[in-house]
């Protein structure tokens, strides 16, 4: 009797407080739904997604509803028309649709709706979803795609394209010159240099890939958040005699945006958590060690006292991603 009453009490207390979970719906035409289940488990165990209230739902769909086809130019690439799944997910109260298509090809796509095939590593879905959140690839783009992507206005939460000056008299001058082009500038500590000698850059992205993080705490930063030269724009055609335009990243380690085996890396974890917070996704109540306070300056937001902390806001005003960038 007492146990029953206590359970009733607990139930009523818990349900007295509204919790607004973010809902992910995975559509698949695979009969067993095995790949969709792997994707679900991956999100449930990957930091920082495992810190948020996320409900998962796996929904059967026909191949026709998923509406995927090989790309006309590169048949190994699969592209889907996501009209149906987005409409269905809106009707069922979901926030984000995913597609797992049962095909022999391997690969995926990201943009509005992340897509992978059943022959792909489930980590491919994580990579594609990060595109949906606005993050960019960090691997070397081909000579045909690099000029399209690597423009002087390309900005995303984890990548910016900057053409460096021939030399910098001081770090302060580099900061003054480029701060507005670095979306994560507010996360770079004042003590971290964004130049080395007279050149731009805290350093280069190194070869040690960030490990996947399945824990409940953010990764310790092996290198401070800064401005690290990446590989994405290496294949841009040469122009003039000065330094070429290059891609720059907040972290010094390759992440899942470069290698599927990689984790998000410390800086990307913070960026993704910031995006989720800005979308109003609530955190799970769990007995975890709170992350250390970040040296973040609020630049274009306000305190959200309901969360008891300063929102991490990246100031990208005037340099933010815009349509057709």
């Amino acid at each position: 009797m007492l146990r029953h009453s206590l359970l009733t009490l607990l139930f009523l207390v818990v349900t007295s407080f509204p919790v607004f979970a973010y809902k992910m719906t995975i559509y698949t035409d695979q009969t067993s739904k095995a790949k969709a289940e792997q994707v679900k488990q991956l999100f449930k165990t990957t930091y920082p997604f495992n810190q948020y209230n996320i409900d998962f739902e796996i929904v059967s769909a026909t191949a026709a509803e998923l509406n995927c086809a090989p790309d006309p130019a590169i048949t190994r690439l699969v592209v889907c028309n996501s009209t149906h799944v987005t409409t269905d997910s809106a009707a069922r109260g979901s926030d984000q649709a995913f597609i797992v298509r049962d095909l022999a090809q391997y690969g995926g796509s990201g943009g509005g709706v992340p897509v992978i095939t059943t022959q792909s590593d489930p980590r491919m879905m994580l990579h594609e979803y990060l595109h949906t959140l606005g993050l960019s690839d960090e691997y070397e783009y081909s000579a045909s795609e690099a000029p399209r992507f690597c423009t002087s206005t390309t900005r995303s939460p984890n990548l910016t394209v900057i053409t460096p000056l021939a030399s910098y008299a001081s770090d302060a001058i580099a900061r003054t010159t480029h701060s507005s082009a670095i979306p994560w500038y507010a996360r770079i500590a004042g003590t971290t240099l964004i130049t080395n000698s007279t050149n731009l850059g805290t350093g280069n992205v190194n070869s040690t890939t960030a490990a996947p993080n399945t824990g409940n705490a953010p990764l310790a930063l092996s290198r401070a958040i800064g401005l690290y030269k990446g590989k994405t724009c290496r294949n841009l055609p040469a122009t003039g005699s000065g330094p070429a335009a290059a891609s720059w990243h907040p972290g010094g380690e390759p992440t899942i945006m470069e290698f599927l085996s990689g984790g998000l890396g410390g800086p990307t974890e913070q960026i993704v958590a910031g995006i989720y917070d800005s979308r109003g996704v609530t955190k799970r109540v769990a007995a975890t060690t709170p992350p250390p306070p970040m040296p973040v300056t609020v630049t274009d937001g306000a305190r959200d006292d309901s969360k008891g902390a300063i929102i991490n806001v990246i100031n990208n005003t005037g340099s933010s991603s815009s349509i057709g960038r």
């Binding site: 690969g107 509005g112 990689g262 933010s320």
Partner: protein
């Protein structure tokens, strides 16, 4: 013994009331929720990068309660404005929708290195939720602007679909 008497003797009514008391006490010390609350209107947002246009394809009105605490998304590239039948702006929200679709594959089925890839400019879609509070009256039309440049990407009548019997 009547059921009511048994219930009273068991002390269960007190236990059932306790959560209400607990809630009232805790609620007094809790910070006020920042989000605007109302019935959840789940809209399908479409962005066509080729024509630089955007639209709301459907908007499902549900009975589910939504307190929107995600009105200003980091990295937003669109601002959705909702107006009532009198043309007054009753809600707006800054959201991100990737204008590009990136299709890519690894070098082999077991490789972790990316190989073929391509950027496509096909239309992209996402769900955006809005709270429809009683004080707003109704949602009738929308306008979608680029953010932060305010270029108009589309406007029209909101294609509302009621999901639950009122």
């Amino acid at each position: 013994m009547s059921y009511a008497l048994k219930l009273l003797r068991s002390g269960r009514p007190f236990l059932l009331l306790l959560p209400v008391i607990t809630f009232a006490v805790d609620n007094a010390t809790l910070p006020v929720r920042q989000g605007i609350c109302g019935k959840s209107v789940n809209a399908v947002l479409k962005l066509n990068p080729k024509t630089k246009s955007a639209s709301i394809e459907k908007a499902f009105i549900t009975k589910e309660e939504l307190c929107d605490e995600g009105r200003y998304e980091i990295n937003a590239n669109l601002r959705v404005i909702l107006r009532n039948s009198e043309g007054l702006m009753v809600y707006d929200k800054q959201v991100f929708l990737n204008p590009h679709t990136l299709i890519e594959t690894t070098r082999s089925a077991t490789s972790t290195e990316f190989g073929d890839h391509k950027i496509k400019d096909d239309p992209t879609y996402r769900v955006v939720k809005f709270p429809l509070a009683e004080s707003m009256g109704d949602f009738k039309s929308y306008e979608i602007q680029g953010y932060p440049d305010k270029a108009v990407f589309g406007q029209g009548t909101l294609p509302l679909v009621k999901m639950d019997a009122e």
